[in-house]
Amino acid sequence: MRTLRDARVGETVKVEKVAGEGAIKRRIMDMGITKNVEIYIRKIAPLGDPVEVTVRGYELSVRKSDAEMVILKEGE
């Protein structure tokens, strides 16, 4: 099972679903990371975490530990 954490810089991925529950999951979804959305991985912060991605036309920063909750579609 591949998650957003595993995605490489420069890659564009598609979301299968957001796992988990509670505040963090809701926040991730509120910010527009929902089923079938495309995410472009822009860069990793200079100290190695968090990750900057482009989603729905804007820039979003997500910690790697939270990125694990975002499950990606395979083979796309």
Partner: protein, 792 residues
Amino acid sequence: MGIRIALAGNPNCGKTTLFNALTGSNQFVGNWPGVTVEYKEGKYKGEKEVTIVDLPGIYSLSPYTLEEVVSRNYLIDERPDAIINVIDGTNLERNLYLTTQIMEVGIPVVVAINMMDVVEKNGDKINTGKLSEEIGVPVVEISALKNKGLSDIVNKAIDAAKEAKPQAPKHRFNGSVEHAFAHIEELCLHDIADENLQRWYSIKLFERDEKVQEKLGLSQEVISHIEKDIQSCEQELDDDAESIITGERYNYIGTIIGDCVKKAAVGLSSSDKIDRVLTNRWLALPIFALVMWLVYYISVTTVGTWATDWANDGVFGDGWHLFAIGSADYNDAAEEFAANQIIVDGYDVYVEENGTEPTGDFEYPVEDEETLEVTYETASLEDYEAAKAYVESNEEPDPANYGVWVPGVPVLVGNLLESLNVNEIVSGLILDGIVAGVGAVLGFVPQIFVLFIFLAFLESCGYMARVAFIMDRIFRRFGLSGKSFIPMLIGTGCGIPGIMASRTIESDRDRKMTIMTTTFIPCGAKLPFIAMVAGAIFGGASWVAPSAYFLGIFAIIVSGVMLKKTKLFAGDPAPFVMELPAYHWPTLGNVLRSMWERGWSFIKKAGTIILLSTIVVWFTTFFGFTADGFRMLAEDEIDMSILASIGKAFAWIFIPLGFGHWEATVASITGLVAKENIVGTLGIIYSASGDVYGAMNAAFTAASGFAFLAFNLLCAPCFAAMGAIKREMNSAKWFWTAIGYQCGFAWVIGLISYQVGKVFTGEGFTVGTIFGIAAICILIYGIFRKDKYKAN
């Protein structure tokens, strides 16, 4: 009855700019009751009947962040007459997500698409007529920055408010979801007072929103009944309720966007280009360091300190030269005169002590003004003759001869009181109590202003979000935000702007944690005290000053790790899923306004506590029971003061820390007025012997001296900083928690320093040492214990 219009929108959508443009200077800025979230309302320009309330910037109406809950409660409980939903035209997709939720609260909505100038510049096209048709509410193009479309949007909102007919949301969810809503409505919402709220409540109940369940006071039976509806829907759509709702909202928005927006070909925007450099893997840290250095250099080292010195030593001191013209010349002249005078005085002292005149070189004492350290220098007889001639032929320089001299407030007030022949108690109260207290409040305002120009700039241009992005990895380990870096950096200069800088942190927990720990870092006012302890007790050892900084950093880290596992900060950390807004150039007006608001709120909210406590300390210092009854005391009679009695009564608290004598206790108390006062107070108390440093050396051992230092560095900061803490916490409970924690923590570190320090300074292992070691063990336990509040 007037009309209330709420402004709602995402962070960075230009809502504040719009609010400022609509209300001008007619604003009230405060906090939402009991929370650290800022509240703003104002009257619409020219129309006293129309009140505009600026809700916090939010992405959603979920129940998870403080800002969202505050906004939600306002919309649901206070029922404003209309909502202006501000949308960033350059990012319709995510902004409309909030719109779909705002439409459901049953209040008339008008949509303002902001930043249209940028949209046009990018070559994008938004068909607002079509958008209005699709979502079913009026849509107006505006540019808050360029003052376009503002009266149009407000008029539409006023019309909507007068009509008082909320538009029914056009968006319908999937059939089985709507079916579940209908069930929920039938089950428990058919009799609620405001039927406009029915849809809102049924959606929230479907999302299993606990705050709404609680608010409606649903029985367990009803909740489990609803649960069945939700579960069957979840099974059918193979997803959980929250995901279904958010997913459908975004899908719906996707179809609208497809119809109404034409994007120009995508190229690298200028914001992207800037970002490529600013958060580049290799350049990010050097640029970050440079920016921080600039902020620090200007707001602490140079301009900010000049401003604060001017306010403290000029306006609330002896006086100042207009435009600083003549100051440099005067200082040179005064210094030269003082340097000669000191040699002449030294000669006289020699004569007095030895009974004869020196026959050759002689030594004379030089006292450092800030730390009271006395050093000896040698002068020859020729030096003396030259100095004597200089002093005799020159008069002591008068600042008034070097430029336009503006006397300080205390001087003016003092002269006035003298001319009125006011009795000395009243004049003492006015001068040393009230004027000094007001000075303590206003003295820091210039520096706060300087710093907040920077912070407002960094925040509104978009770099502040990148600061969090860059520093997050380090700070989150201690329960802090990447943005906590700035308060702590500024805190090395002065804790007050440092505490106030925590305002830029979004998460409530991170903000509180930052407020509680920022003043652990030694501020500028603590430096003379550190130097005094180093000189008097440690023979000028060079490791003392750095150790004070290490102690501060250590205290922040340990406190952060310990506190985040306590009930106070229980619960999952706020998610760090943060928008990195596009860079843009802020307007001068907004930057200045932000600066003014924050500086003014410090004066208003922190002023009273600072003033009152300064007066109390003045009174207890200068009054006391003496042989001839209760009376006002001279400065050097401090040992008879009420403060000394308080010191004697409470000195036992510090016995385990090795400095359980009233002198140290009193100095710690006067340190609360301003930390540099510790030096002055110790100077007065120990001056009887003529050798302050020697007397201090006798009163403290190395271990107790370090404990004294550690306690005073870490305990409650000065009253002005406490006022800032009170202002920022906006809650008596949190204010006292912070002060209590700081004092408690300082005491424990003092205990460890003394009891364990004794072993290493050859005082041996005692019963106390066991307590010291026990305290270390408790700290270690606090750091490494399991976080029982953390979910998995």
